[in-house]
Structure formats: C-alpha cells, structure tokens
Symmetry: C2
Subunit: 351 residues, 2 copies
C-alpha cells in the first residue's frame, strides 16, 4: 500500500486528477486494468481481489464458495441469439464456473429507465428465466431501481453468482504451467459481431448469432474426466488475446498460439476483415479457454465434444517458460507475432 | 404457476402490456411490490425469493449464508453525511445483517458514465473503503462498465452482500408474533430529507445529515443478549410505514404504533410539515426495526443504547392478532389511523 492522495484514497502511482472516465475504461483491456490497479485494488485490497481472477474464492464454514459479479449494459437490449437478460445470467454463471465451482445462486440488481415498456421487461425476465433453467441456477434475490428518462438506456442488470467449489479443486489464472495445453471450446468473435450487427452499424445484413450460453455443464463434464485442469477462463471483453495475456501475467509464463487452430466462422472473419478488426480481440459469451496438463488434453477434448457447447473444442497452443508474460501467435504464413492486450475500446457496450 | 403470456413470461394476473416503467416502480412501495409479484416472482419463483425478506437464506455445505443485493442510483452522488459509495456498502451490509447474518463479503458492479471525473470516482471508492472497514467486510470482487454520456448519471453501484448465519438463528419478516414488542433504533427521516436538501429542492438550507451507517455491530450486540429476536428490518425506501406493512403481511399479524414514541428530529419534522410529507414514509439508511419477544425488550434496548447507532432506541409499538395485515397508529391526540404502504413515488432516487 502506498500514500494516501489528496482525497484520502490510496493511489500506488500518481493519477492525472482531472482525468475523466472514457469508454475505454469499460473495455476489459489495458485501461480497465489500469482503473482496477490504480483505484479499486489499492482501496479494497484483500487476497480474493488480489488473485485477479474473474471472481473470488471465499472461505465459509464447511468449505469454499466462488462469487463473481458483472454489470450488463449491452446495447441494443436484444440482438440475434441473445439479449441482455440471457447475457446477464450466462455471463455470471460462466464466471463462477470458470473458478471450478458449481454455480447455484444468482442475485440481480435492475436499473430501469423511466419509459421502458413492461413488455420489454417481461421479455428480458423471461430470457433470464430460460437461461437460469438451462444452467440449473436460482435467482434468489433482486432489487429494482428506476431512473428518469435520459439517465439510463432501457435497463441495466447487475448479477452476482455464487457457487460451491468442490473440495480439493483449485483452478485459477495463476496456475498455468509450462508444457500445459491451451484449449479453446469453439470459434470466436460471434458475440461481439452479432451485437455490432444488431446496432445497424455494419451497413449490411448478416446472420451471425451471439454465442451467449451457460458453460457450467461443459465445465462439469471436463472436471469429471481430469483433475488436472489448471486454468479456465471465458474470453469475453477483450477477447482471447486479452484473456490469455492476463493468464500469462498471472502465472508468469509465456503462451504460444497456432493461428491455424483458432476457428473463426467465415461470416465473422469477413466482417472483421472489412472493418479491420482482429477476431482475437472480439468478445465471446459462450466460449471457454482451458489450460490443462498436456497428458489430459485428449480425454478432456473428447468429453467436450460430446456436450452442446464444446463440439468444436480443440488445442490452440501451449504454455511455455519464455517469453514470460507474453502471448505469441504463430501465423498461418509461418511468422510469429506478439499478441498484446486490448488497448482502448474497439466495441463499447457489447456486454 | 399460471399461463404463459404472449411473450412466454409467466403472469399470474394480466398486466397492461403497453404500460411503461415509471418512477413509482422504484419506490419500494405498492408499485414496486406489484412489479415483483407480477413479473419477477412468477418467472424466478423459488423458496428464497418467495420468503419476501430483504435477502435470501441459502444452504451451503456447513451451514447457511445470507445474500442480499441493492442497486444504488442516488442523486446527487454526494449529500450531507454520506455519498453513493458509503450508501452502497451500508445498504447491503444492513440487509444482510437484518437476516441475523454476520456480513463478511461484498461484490460491487459499477456502471460509470463517460465523463465522470476520476477525482469523483476516487472519492466514492474511498468512502466505500471507509464504510467497509467500519463494518468489517471485504469487497472481494468487482466489475466496471462504462456507458456513453447521457446514458447514465455519473455512476451507479450495485452491491451484493454475503454473510454467515449462525447455527440456530432464524430471523425473518414472517416471524412476528402477537404480543411482541416493536423497537425502533432512533429518529426517522434523516436520510431522505438530507438527499432532498442536497438537490437544492427545498429552497432553503438545512443541516440535516443522512443517517447512512453500517448496523451489523448493533445487530450483533442485540443478538448477543436475546435469542428471541423474531424480525429485523431496516426501513429504507418506503420508510417505517411500508416496512411494517410488509412485516404485518408476511407474518399475518397487526401492528399498533404509538406516534408519541416515534422520534423525528425537529429539523426533519419542520421540512416534512412544510412539504406535506409524512416522516413515516421517508427513507432511512441507518435505522432498524426489531420485533422481539416482549420479555427481552428491555435488555435488548439496554444493549442497543450502548452502541453508536442505537443510542436512541425505544419501543414504538406492539404486534397484535388483529387487525391482521394492518398497521395502525395511535396518534398523539388520541385517535387511531390506518398506516398504509407507500403509493407511487414521493422522493425518487434517494438510494
């Protein structure tokens, strides 16, 4: 901990004090990480937060529980394949599942804008119910606030998930080991591009659907065949590139990816090509990255392929000792390039 | 459960489908209750939600935990005695404490509006830290989203709290019994009026400060001297009137209050008089209502008076068999009147 600044908050490095929040602070990339490391972490410092995973592992009598929170502000509220309600359930269920926990309970805080139609609210609540049923979780408490017209954008939903961590399980971004295999559960970029398309910003029609899905049953299947799953993470904001960089930094390892093994649907690839986006940075809401002992990789992939959301799972790379804290990509043309975290904000409000 | 409506959501009673959300739906009063009973509860139906308390009691290996969620949208962000950060911690700590649980952990979801100054964010985070330290809770995970200018109002904070329920403890709005004493921890209305004053809507200056405070240590003290605390509840949105009506309905009892025993600070009373507000409906953020076996009332009040936030505790009424589901007030002039729940919205965005 460092010196209190003039406002009594703790800042380990000087912050430009007249600076303002910009959309990039919500990106899940470099600016979001800065906000966490410079403002939130110093103030709230504790072991659970410091671990830097998507949620916290908490000791309670009788064992450990995992909790995770996500605020959802996606715009528009409805998009092909999903909506803000479905996303609010799946996103948080997945964060809990990525800690090796069995998600059981959700809380939901709704911030509604005056003028939202009850029809819209009912559709969204209905979607939350469907996602919760599929995941097998209960929404056990909620809160509703209403803000005046022009102080919101329809509705925002913040969900917190709770799950039970089975005894002996330890899965964390800090546990990747050189030699481990990196597995990706399917093609990337569907969610971010589907939201972009729903905004009408593409200037043409696509049939790309969000991949938003609860991944807890997939995780349970994987854990049933291997005790050697070291890291699980869903590559949402910031995409596969940012998520793997976070893991490399947490575990102090390198990660080398094979571009030819990373699947991107042709329609997603076409949109990315046209707009100059790299699919490695596009958000997913129904995919996971797993880092596991190499010897267990084939049996884990086999069982993933038997589940609804893991049919296209494959190894996309491996963990290395060097270059420490770096992600490298072996491209299809044979060169190698550094894959950095997301800088700034490419697609605001995609979750 | 009833018929699915045209949108696939479950509505036990027909809802006017072109209706819109209005500020009253966020009041904590009648309209908010309608939204819960007609939209949220039918969709998410489960025992924890159905209990109708401020949070949920969940079974986990080794015992029970309490969870509660609150979204905070107070405007302005800063007001005398507190701010949105302090409130976001205290409000949720209190909801967990009101279930007889020892609050331990919080999650926090931030929705920031583009353009918010980092200075403001730092002040609010600092305030959260101070409140968390006083309560003895850790903020174990968080999430930050950013929305464009004009799609928020500075920032909104949704907190979920987790606490451990000691073995054998059962405190719920359903457990009030005829003959029980109704205790109030201090004077009412300070929070709502302080926020109103901070908006500059009064047209004159006051020195009324919000009572926002973490009440978990007060609750622990009360529980240390009595195993017969049946109900605990903090009278926030909708005030003492709405909270006691909820308890009367949950427990199927009547509640009779003595107006002369309900304390209102002169400055608060003066503002209410001037604006035509009834202090019984004004939100508090650092007061609690307790319903306990009459024989334990004096020792509970004694220990309350020894704590920082219970110095002005007193008995304000009693639980009766009749009139069932009703709250009555014996006025200072000797008459008796019905005290109903809050209808519509008196003071939007006070928490």
């Amino acid at each position: 901990m460092s010196n209190p600044d003039i406002n009594g908050a703790y800042c380990p490095v000087p912050l430009p004090h007249n600076d303002q929040i910009v959309l990039g602070h919500g990106s899940g990339g470099k600016m979001a990480a800065d906000l966490i490391s410079k403002i939130f972490l110093p103030a709230f410092d504790n072991p659970a937060l410091r671990a830097g995973d998507d949620g916290a592992v908490l000791d309670v009598p009788g064992g450990q529980i995992a909790v995770s929170v996500d605020s959802h502000v996606v715009s528009p509220l409805f998009f092909p394949g999903s909506d803000i309600g479905h996303l609010a359930v799946c996103g948080t269920v997945n964060d809990v599942a990525m800690m090796g926990a069995r998600p059981l309970y959700l809380t939901a805080g709704f911030i509604l804008e005056e003028g939202l139609t009850l029809d819209t609210l009912i559709r969204i609540v209905s979607s939350m119910k469907a996602a919760a049923n599929e995941a097998g979780v209960q929404i056990v408490c909620g809160d509703t606030k209403v803000v005046q017209r022009g102080k919101g954008d329809g509705l925002y939903i913040t969900t917190t998930g709770l799950g039970i961590i089975p005894p002996g399980i330890s899965i964390s971004g800090t546990l990747a080991k050189p030699g481990d295999a990196v597995i990706l559960s399917g093609p990337i970029g569907d969610h971010g591009i589907s939201v972009l398309a729903a905004r009408g910003e593409l200037g043409f029609e696509t049939d790309i659907q969000s991949d938003s899905a609860p991944l807890n049953h997939l995780v349970a299947a994987m854990m049933s065949v291997s005790p050697n799953i070291h890291v699980l993470r869903d590559p949402t904001r910031g995409g596969v590139a940012t998520t793997l960089n976070e893991i490399a930094a947490q575990s102090q390892v390198g990660i080398i990816l094979n571009e030819s093994d990373i699947q991107v649907r042709p329609a997603v690839a076409a949109v990315c090509e046209m707009l100059g986006f790299d699919p490695l940075y596009i958000a997913n809401e129904g995919k996971l990255l797993a880092i596991i002992a190499k010897e267990d990789a084939s049996k884990v992939i086999s069982i993933m392929k038997e589940t609804k959301y893991g049919e296209e799972a494959r190894i996309i790379g491996e963990v290395t000792t060097n270059p420490r804290n770096r992600v490298l990509l072996k491209t299809e043309i044979g060169s190698t390039r550094v894959v950095d975290v997301l800088m700034g904000e490419m697609l605001p409000r995609i979750c």
